[in-house]
Amino acid sequence: MASEPTTRSKSHRIVVSARGETREFACGEDEHILYAGLRAGLPLPYECASGTCGTCKAVVVEGTTRYAWEEAPGRKYTRAERKEVLTCQSFALSALALSLPGAFTAKPPRVAPEYFSGTIARSRLLIPDVIEFDLELERPMSFDAGQFVLLEVEAVAGARSYSMVNFEPESRVLRFLVKRFPGGALTEWMFSHPIDGTQVKVFGPLGRASFDSGEIRHVLCIAGGSGIAGMMSILESGKRDEHFDDHDMQVFFGVRTLQDAFYLDELKAHARHDRVRITLGLSHEEPSESARALHPELEFDQGFIHEVVKRAVAESPEDTTIYVAGPPPMVDATLRMLLLELKHSGKQIRYDKFS
């Protein structure tokens, strides 16, 4: 993924049209087309940026491309007979004319993504299947809470998306969570080697499911497992900007049992704010009296997190922005609950499709 185009590599002119609008940018022969366009600040549609969701697809009207990742699962959303490709997983072999099926996004990203390099530091096991680590960048990155980056290490082919846990307006250190995923090449590598000192290629910031405290809105965060990463960043960002002095913040954190929860001290510190409510939903055990006594700042409920949210938030005001993150079945169940049962509008909901 994150190959900064070398000065020797050939560069091609890419012209993209969508609904009568045309934009153009230069793309090195060894750079993924989407990344070159985003780096140039273009409002190109994408979500996962890693070959899964299909949102970045375009028709190749003129020119030739080659796939970086032939087996990208998002190719099921493209049709070869229409010359559709995933721009996030394609290289340009010539000048290209591309046509998007939808429109350019309404506004370009606040911060155009760039290539960075970093070194892993201070990795630690939070629970047996979740690692936290810091990535020390060679120069600061500006990002919005809730955004993610692509990470790639030399030992494992391909880039993966991870949301930042921390938040600072300009940060030289990015903090991440990695959940062990059986069979996942990168996570298996991380769980079986000492990782501190590892060099990492980074591309970002990415993602539009981000928090902007300039918006006058209440916030509802629904996370399953390591999906709490982006919510921690939103909590920190809102706290810095005193957003929660005037707006309600509710966080629902779903885990199997109390043993599977982490960041409880950090969450308790946030929950001491009057308008911040944090609920831990346990899907596989009843919250014990001792858990409640030990963590009086937190609320507890039993059930899958979408069921817990449904009980707690029968009606949330329309001026609430809802963030959802977690494993795909949890995100699916939560979206269904929000849209079909609580009748929320898709306009209120922000989530990134990567996993």
């Binding site: 969701c53 299909g54 949102t55 697809k57 959303y77 049709r79 099926p101 939808g102 429109a103 699916d332 979206l335 269904r336 849209l339 079909l340 049962e341 509008s345 898709g346 306009k347 909901i349 499709k353």
Partner: protein
């Protein structure tokens, strides 16, 4: 012009939806809203996603990709949706669901 048979009514349970190929043209999505059948284009007008993979609550159809939504009775856009959904006339007779094709 005429009614084209697309499916047996029993194949689509109440609250469910399924995509069917048609003789007349593009595939159609048949939806069963608790006994009332609806028919619309099978592919999302936004990014060509199969709408069959989306969500349906009897009234509103939601594409799972970017949460575009429509009122299934009219095809009118709701929420984030920027364009209407093409809906077809549909009827269920003698256990068969049929759609009206102008072109067949």
């Amino acid at each position: 012009m005429g009614w084209e048979r697309v499916a047996g009514a029993e194949t689509i349970a109440p609250g469910k939806m399924q995509q069917f190929a048609t003789e007349g043209g593009d595939a159609v999505l048949i939806l069963n809203g608790e006994g009332t059948f609806y028919a619309c284009q099978a592919i999302c007008p936004h990014m060509d996603t199969p709408l069959e993979e989306g969500m349906f609550d009897g009234e509103t159809l939601t594409c799972h990709q970017h949460l575009w939504q429509w009122d299934i009775a009219t095809g009118d856009p709701k929420g984030l949706s920027e364009s209407p959904l093409e809906c077809l006339r549909v009827k269920s007779e003698g256990g068969t669901v049929m759609v009206w094709r102008d072109d067949s």
